[in-house]
């Protein structure tokens, strides 16, 4: 533990040095005034500005709320994989490691695929499809308990989460104005962190340790599909409340603009 702590500490030192060495030809100098630095505000006014911006943009607000629900249900599933593997499958740490590793592999594959596809241009569809599709491998975990199914299901969950998560993050970075991104991602982070303890507690009550029957336990662990199709109809436009004028749609890449009615995925 002591060497691990020291090694962990040293990685943060390296990270700090690398980040401190970043030369800053900020994008504002490449793309005009959109990223012009703004005066630093006190903390609470910045928090209020973040919430005000979120309320002014229905698409982002619904995205953040639905992402919170997504985090809630997936945290239950992923955090209690160990209980599933040990209690439900009755296998040991090696299988647990493989199952957990399959999520990382799947996530990495899904994340890389975003840059090679047109996911961000169709982020609304990506949001709905990946969210709804995640219910399938989760259901497979419950209906067909076994190491192979667990490996494949968690791999699929990882792919879907990686693909959807990177699409969401990229979409948000392209749509939210530069000067509001810190506030927006701060609010989003707040929602994500706030929901995790609730997920852990919910997972505790649905874990095998509660002593309910095997069949009942399994069905209780099935969360509802994490994405809501009703969210597809929202628009990604909004207004910059700090300036009091509408925020124009931002380009999503060469020759493309944000599609009205599109959504994107949570982290």
């Amino acid at each position: 533990m002591i060497p691990a702590g020291l090694f962990n500490s040293s990685t943060f030192v390296v990270s700090a040095l690398l980040r401190a060495s970043i030369a800053f030809p900020l994008r504002g100098s490449l793309h005009g005034p959109e990223a012009t630095p703004v005066p630093t505000e006190p903390f609470w006014p910045s928090v209020r500005a973040g919430f005000a911006y979120l309320r002014s943009n229905v698409a982002l607000l619904q995205l953040t709320i639905s992402a919170t629900f997504m985090n809630f249900f997936l945290s239950i599933v992923l955090s209690f994989l160990v209980a599933y593997v040990v209690g439900e499958l009755g296998v040991g740490s090696v299988v647990y490691g493989l199952v957990l590793g399959s999520f990382s592999i799947g996530f990495a594959v899904g994340a890389v695929l975003v840059g090679r596809t047109a996911a961000v241009r169709h982020m609304g569809k990506v949001w709905v499809i990946t969210g709804a599709a995640t219910a399938v491998p989760i259901a497979a975990l419950v209906l067909f308990p076994g190491p192979v199914v667990a490996f494949g299901s968690v791999l699929a969950i990882g792919i879907l989460m990686g693909y959807g998560g990177v699409t969401w993050r990229s979409g948000a970075q392209l749509i939210v104005p530069g000067e509001m991104q810190g506030r927006y991602f701060g609010v989003d982070q707040l929602g994500s962190i706030a929901i995790l303890p609730l997920a852990q507690i919910s997972g505790f009550f649905s874990s095998p340790s509660t002593g309910s029957s095997r069949r009942t336990r399994s069905w209780r662990r099935v969360p509802p599909p994490p994405a809501s199709g009703s969210a597809c109809s929202v628009r990604c436009g909004g207004s910059d409340t700090r300036r009091g004028r509408p925020e124009p749609a931002r380009t999503l890449g060469p020759g493309h603009r944000a599609e009205a009615g599109e959504r994107f995925l949570p982290p």
């Binding site: 533990m1 002591i2 060497p3 691990a4 702590g5 020291l6 962990n8 500490s9 040293s10 943060f12 030192v13 990270s15 700090a16 980040r19 970043i22 800053f24 900020l26 994008r27 504002g28 490449l30 990223a35 740490s93 490691g97 957990l100 590793g101 999520f103 990382s104 592999i105 996530f107 990495a108 594959v109 994340a111 890389v112 695929l113 975003v114 840059g115 090679r116 996911a119 961000v120 990882g158 990686g162 990177v166 699409t167 993050r169 990229s170 948000a172 970075q173 392209l174 530069g178 991104q181 810190g182 991602f185 701060g186 989003d188 982070q189 962190i193 931002r250 999503l252 890449g253 060469p254």
Partner: protein, 90 residues
């Protein structure tokens, strides 16, 4: 982000120092981990907001994909290494 990294480096160094000098002190370790986690929460929004300022818009999906996939792979390798090298795995 630099401040967050520095504080987290200090937190983990302090945890290692506590374990070395005082042995396992759960309250102190929890405080150290709590401080590191608090600055992690500050780090993520800054990281997400910084990336679009450094690269062109068309590169954002690819950059995010590389960042997050690297995080996952390194996290998996590190977790596996830690798990297999811990005394209890022997």
């Amino acid at each position: 982000m630099v401040l967050s990294d520095v504080v987290r480096a200090a937190s983990w160094a302090a945890i290692a120092l506590i374990l070395w000098t005082l042995g396992l002190s759960l309250p102190l370790v929890l405080i150290g981990v709590g401080v590191a986690a608090a600055f992690l929460a500050l780090f993520y929004p800054a990281e997400r907001a910084l990336l679009p300022q450094l690269i062109h818009e068309e590169e954002i999906p690819t950059a995010n994909g590389i960042l997050l996939s690297t995080n996952q792979i390194v996290g998996f390798v590190a977790t596996s290494t830690g798990g297999t090298s811990s005394p209890r795995s022997a």
